[in-house]
């Protein structure tokens, strides 16, 4: 889920006191747990997001939307950290109100994406092999919202600090992404990624993520404010999460084309 994906500038002090000795964890375990706390907490979830995009000159644009998330259960109904569905319903600004963006995330093939534009009364499938394009004009990419597959990168634990595992991730297929590598600071206790830095091949850092606020909600550590900065344009985007709830009882049917035109109001209000 978006609000888990993003790493948290935690109230580290409190967390550090609870730190467990996990220095001996294997890298695969670290990234899997980080992936889980970022995207797979609970069976489903919802959150309202306020997004503020601020450009280099301090001009702002805002968007407000509600995200619903549902995880496909395993054959026996258990949690498998596998395919997921996302439903993103916009209500502000007024002229994009009721616009819906829907994703079926697959681990073994390209995602399916749909877009509903109410003013044109149009449902479109979006064919995108490339998930690293801007999410509705913000500095976040689609992939930041739905999560990047673990198998897309090679992971390497480059440093272990008092509070963080610092993991360097190198893409398996360089041609699909604009970065040469990225570094993630994964908090040792919560396994939330708190900071991510993206690098070009020549070593310049051009993009940066940080979790600005973390709360514990329904027992799940949750990033409630996150920020993505584009260091090349000087633009940055802040997402604030409110009304975050887990296990709200969504079912998979909501995440189908039928519901694009007829939003499931009871989950969105």
């Amino acid at each position: 889920m978006k609000f888990r994906i993003l790493l948290a500038a935690l109230s580290l002090f409190a967390l550090a006191t609870r730190a467990v000795s996990a220095d001996d964890l294997a890298i695969d375990e670290i990234v899997q747990r980080a992936n889980h706390v970022s995207y797979y907490e609970g069976k489903d979830g919802r959150a309202r997001v306020n997004m503020v995009i601020t450009d280099a000159q301090g001009r702002t644009r805002t968007r407000r939307f509600t995200i619903l998330r549902w995880d496909e259960p395993g054959p026996d109904g258990q949690q498998v950290d596998g395919d997921q569905r996302f439903y993103v319903y916009f209500d502000r600004p007024a002229d994009v109100s009721k616009m819906v963006f829907m994703v079926h995330k697959h681990l073994d093939r390209d995602d399916d994406r749909w877009l509903y534009m109410p003013s044109l009364d149009l449902v479109k499938r979006i064919a995108a092999t490339d998930k690293r394009t801007s999410f509705v004009g913000s500095d976040f990419f689609y992939e930041d919202v739905s999560g990047r597959r673990l198998s897309d990168d090679k992971h390497e634990l480059v440093e272990t600090t008092d509070n963080y595992y610092v993991v360097r991730n190198t893409p398996v297929d360089k041609s699909l992404v604009e970065f040469a590598w990225y570094k993630v600071w994964i908090h040792k206790t919560t396994f939330l990624p708190i900071k991510v830095e993206y690098y070009k091949a020549d070593g310049t850092k051009y993009r940066e993520y940080s979790a600005e606020k973390v709360d514990q909600i329904d027992g799940h550590w949750t990033v409630t404010k996150s920020k993505m900065s584009n260091l090349e344009t000087g633009s940055s985007t802040e997402m604030s999460y409110s009304e975050v709830r887990y296990d709200v009882g969504l079912n998979g049917d909501i995440f189908t084309e039928r519901y694009l035109r007829k939003p499931p109001r009871k989950f969105l209000r």
């Binding site: 000159q57 644009r61 600004p93 534009m117």
Partner: protein, 974 residues
């Protein structure tokens, strides 16, 4: 001359202490050179001093606070626009043009390389400086959108990696063709033979560095046989390269001018000993003046870089007269001291006046509104006076260094050649002298005809400039310009900002409108009195809200809260209210309104029909927000051409734009429309149109602006939009306008100043006017010719008019002064002509040749404006010399009776016609010149009003008794 005793004292003092004079001159020169040189070479050694500052930016032709520049900077910043280097790739050999595997592979590599050109890679120590990576336009850096089968749309990089097959290469072309933003901008629209990379820079002054790096890389990349050619152009490159070439010009032309002057003087005077002092005066003058320029903190600009080459010929002028005269007389006395004193006695007046008139001519450039031209004029004026001081002090001193024995030898040689009057030049002049008397009528008739032709030619003058054409036709920048503009919609960018008018801030009126909107928006979905509650809330808000948008924002959040919390049965009503409020708000967002976008596209269509005077299309292409919306709309709705249109509601426009931003280049929209939701006064209320011109000619840009003005009058933009141009191509037009009117004023100003000086010098209106005739005829003739041969009236041509005036009046002064003296001696003009065409005419001819040819080395300069200056000033000086020698004697033959009828010495106040005209001209000078500095338009009217008063006062004053007495004493003033 009146004050002959004063120069006499100076000259004798200088000739008594030649060493002292020389040391003082050397000391002053060295001190100034050090003051200028040290901070230049060692900037840290003397931080309080100004070092050499170079400015190659034609934008600085306008003052920095000039409104058009201020707006240009603001608008560029607002829309995140940068100055652009255009890298063109042309392949005319491959049947697929540039769309083949090799060429696109090279383009891919080159783009990657261009993106690294920042910071130390281009030799600057600033990680922020260089290529603006995110805004590079190249096949591998842009997105495309396409309809991919039923119900599906695809977004992707246009060329994520180099194509591996012919099919893939052609696919790049086919996709780009479908994107209007790219077609005609990034790829040629008529052929497959060309594509362009647009490489934006953080600062246009980096253009040359970046261009050089790119050229090096291209040389490495080029695969033999693939047939690609690369061209680099764009105004920033042209302008920046110009600065580099400027220094080459200074290094070549100035020394070459020295050499030419040296050779000519050597030819005329035979002995090097003799011509060394004038050469020293020339060099010292140039060094002192340039040092002063640097010390005073002025920049070396396109104009001021020409100061040395202007000063050197002018500086030797007076010295030539002295030396010429010295050796004519030395033979008689054989005493260098008494000879030089006698020579200076005779020449002091004419030299002073010629220097003053030249100074006035250049100083008048201070009246132009163009800072670099002002600096140029003022410093040449200072240099001319420095040269004059050096001439009357150092030349006599220098002559005292030459032993009498050497002088005797030289005088002999000189006497033989010149005194016998047997040289070809002397023979031609003698013949010319006779003709001016015998055929005076024919000469005047021919002059009248020539003036008629000139008037016709001046009527044909075409005002135009184009910084790209400052390079010679075979310069790579010119070649690139021709080739690329043949294939593309144009590489010259101008921008048009469209602004929505201020929002009416009457909150109550707005509240009423909102209530109306709600009523019609909610219609029959109202439930449980939602509309009434909302109306009440809006009335409440209207009494507290500070502005319409505050009211709306409060109302929206009120409705938003209800939507979150209201019972289900009210939901639809609140929802409809939210929609209605959203629509009310979107009315502020002018550039989401379909009718506004449709108007923009219509206006663009019109711009693309503007033709130049050769019938060619000037605007090859334009890009706007409308094009973006139409493209996205088309591909969202199946990709067929009939969907290439603006959708019908603002919300549909907004949703198309959200899609446009869901790309890799999500900030691109900022280049076309201003977005800031925190400021409703600007949010979607300012838009920027990119207009690509195929030519950087100012007249073409002007044709576009005029055509837009006419179009807007016929098809006014919806919602009272206003528009304003910016961009380098447009700025050039503005400074050209200023230059043309400014130069006319400067010319008029210096004409009046010089006329006033002539009237005072000759104590006669008639003589004053006579002395202005040769240069007037010359300037008219030269400008008439410029009109007839179709040479554009550009920056150098404009500048020349007023500065040539001060120079070419010299010949008339020398001619008339000498003629007046000789006529008194010989009694009639008929008998005077012969002697006047002896030594005086020879001195004038030599001068015209030395100075005129002295400017010709500018022809060796690699840049066209310098060449223009060289050719024109040589032509003006030679023509002025010739017309002085032909026209003045012819006129004097007819005017003899009036010119010599009276003895014209004595107080000017006693000669009422002279006094009155001098006063009128003086008031004219004040009207034209002085008000420029004081900025008080009343001065003009006061001056004009005082003219008749001055005439009356002069008349009254001239009738006073003391005048009558003085007149009688002098032999009668009639």
């Amino acid at each position: 001359m009146h004050h002959a005793h004063k120069p006499g004292r100076v000259v004798s003092a200088c000739s008594n202490h030649p060493r002292f004079v020389t040391w003082v001159m050397i000391a002053v020169t060295v001190v100034l050179a050090v003051l200028a040189g040290v901070p230049t070479l060692f900037p840290d050694a003397a931080p309080m001093l100004n070092g050499l500052k170079v400015d190659t930016d034609p934008e600085n032709m306008l003052a920095e606070d000039e409104p058009v520049r201020v707006f240009h900077e603001q608008a560029k910043k607002r829309f995140g626009l940068h100055d652009i280097i255009v890298l063109g790739v042309v392949n005319e050999k491959n049947p697929d043009g540039v769309f083949n595997v090799d060429t696109l592979g090279d383009v891919y590599e080159l783009t990657k390389y261009a993106e690294t050109l920042r910071d130390k890679a281009i030799g600057v120590d600033d990680p922020e400086a260089g290529v603006v990576r995110v805004d590079v336009i190249s096949p591998s850096t842009v997105d495309f959108i396409e309809s991919a089968g039923v119900g599906t749309v695809r977004f992707d990089w246009l060329m994520p990696e180099p194509p591996k097959s012919r099919k893939e290469a052609l696919a790049v072309r086919d996709r780009a063709r479908r994107i209007p933003f790219l077609n005609g901008t990034m790829i040629a629209d008529q052929t497959d033979e060309a594509l362009c990379l647009y490489i934006p820079l953080t600062d246009k002054h980096l253009a040359h560095r970046v261009a050089v790096r790119l050229q090096e890389e291209i040389a490495k990349l080029k695969r033999t046989g693939s047939g690609e050619e690369y061209h680099i152009t764009g105004l920033p490159v042209a302008e920046d390269t110009f600065g580099v070439e400027m220094f080459r010009q200074m290094a070549i032309s100035a020394p070459l001018a020295m050499l030419v002057i040296f050779l000519l003087m050597w030819y005329f005077f035979k002995k090097i000993t003799l011509i060394l002092p004038p050469m020293i005066v020339a060099v010292v003058t140039a060094v002192i003046t340039m040092s002063l320029l640097v010390i005073s903190g002025q920049t070396v600009h396109i104009m001021s870089s020409m100061i040395p080459i202007f000063l050197m010929p002018i500086a030797v002028l007076d010295a030539i007269h002295i030396i010429s005269d010295f050796f004519d007389r030395y033979g008689e006395t054989r005493d260098r001291r008494s000879t030089i004193i006698a020579v200076m006695h005779e020449l002091f007046g004419p030299m002073l006046y010629t220097s003053l008139t030249t100074t006035a001519g250049f100083a008048s450039l201070a009246l132009t509104p163009i800072p670099p031209v002002q600096v140029f004029g003022i410093f040449v004026a200072i240099g001319v006076m420095i040269a004059w001081v050096l001439t009357i002090t150092f030349i006599p001193a220098a002559i005292m260094f030459i032993p009498e024995s050497r002088l005797a030898d030289i005088a002999g040689a000189h006497g033989k050649v010149e005194a016998e009057a047997g040289s070809p030049m002397a023979r031609v002049l003698t013949l010319a002298g006779r003709l001016t008397y015998a055929r005076a009528g024919v000469i005047l008739l021919l002059t009248v005809i020539a003036m008629g032709v000139s008037a016709y030619g001046i009527g044909l003058i075409r005002i135009n400039d184009n910084p790209t054409k400052w390079f010679e036709p075979n310069h790579p920048i010119r070649v690139a310009d021709r080739v690329l503009n043949k294939h593309f919609g144009g590489t010259y960018m101008a921008y048009l900002e469209l602004d929505a008018p201020e929002i009416d801030t009457d909150v109550h009126a707005f509240a009423e409108k909102v209530k109306q909107d709600l009523k019609s928006g909610m219609g029959d979905v109202d439930a449980a009195g939602v509309a009434d509650r909302l109306d009440a809330e809006i009335d409440r808000l209207a009494s507290t809200a500070g502005s319409p948008w505050d009211l709306l924002a409060s109302a929206q959040s009120f409705v938003g809260d209800r939507l979150d919390t209201c019972p289900d049965e009210e939901y639809d009503a609140w929802d409809a209210a939210a929609t209605a409020l959203g629509e009310a708000r979107s009315r502020f967002e002018v550039f989401k309104q379909p009718e506004v976008l449709r108007w923009m596209r219509r206006m663009q269509d019109h711009l693309e029909t503007v033709r130049g005077d050769r019938g060619e299309q000037i605007v090859g292409k334009s890009n706007s927000l409308a094009d973006i919306v139409m493209t996205v709309h088309r591909d969202l709705l199946g990709g067929t051409d009939d969907q290439y249109r603006i959708p019908d509601t603002p919300a549909a426009v907004a949703q198309c734009l959200i899609q446009f931003q869901s790309s890799h280049r999500y900030t691109d929209l900022d280049h076309f429309v201003l977005r800031d939701q925190s400021d409703p006064k600007v949010h979607f209320r300012r838009s920027c149109l990119w207009v690509q011109l195929t030519s950087g000619d100012n007249r073409d840009m002007e044709a576009v602006t005029r055509s837009l003005d006419r179009y807007v009058a016929e098809d006014p933009p919806p919602g009272g939009l206003t528009y304003r141009w910016f961009g380098l191509t447009y700025i050039n037009v503005v400074w050209q306008d200023k230059m043309v009117s400014g130069m006319l004023q400067a010319f008029l100003g210096s004409f009046l100043v010089v006329l006033l000086m002539m009237i005072v010098l000759y104590r006669s209106v008639l003589w004053g006017i006579l002395s202005m005739i040769p240069l007037t005829v010359t300037v008219a003739w030269i400008y008439g010719l410029i009109g007839i041969i179709g040479k554009d009236y550009d920056m150098p041509v404009a500048v020349l008019s007023s500065l040539s005036l001060g120079l070419s009046v010299d010949y008339a002064i020398h001619f008339l002064s000498r003629s007046r003296v000789m006529r008194t001696r010989f009694g009639s003009w008929r008998d005077t002509v012969g002697p006047v065409f002896g030594e005086p005419a020879r001195a004038i001819t030599r001068n015209a040749i030395v100075v005129g040819l002295g400017f010709l080395p500018l022809l060796a300069a690699p840049l066209v404006p310098y060449q223009t200056v060289g050719v024109l000033i040589a032509a003006i000086l030679l023509t002025a010399g010739a017309s002085t020698l032909v026209l003045l004697p012819a006129l004097m033959r007819y005017l003899e009776r009036w010119l010599f009828s009276q003895k014209i010495e004595g107080a000017i106040s006693c000669r009422w016609a002279t006094c009155a005209s001098a006063a009128v001209v003086l008031l004219g000078v004040i009207a034209v010149n002085v008000h420029q500095f004081l900025g008080e338009p009343m001065i003009v009217w006061v001056s004009l009003g005082l003219m008749p008063v001055a005439v009356v006062v002069c008349y009254v004053v001239s009738r006073r008794r003391s005048c009558a007495d003085a007149g009688n004493a002098q032999g009668g003033v009639s």
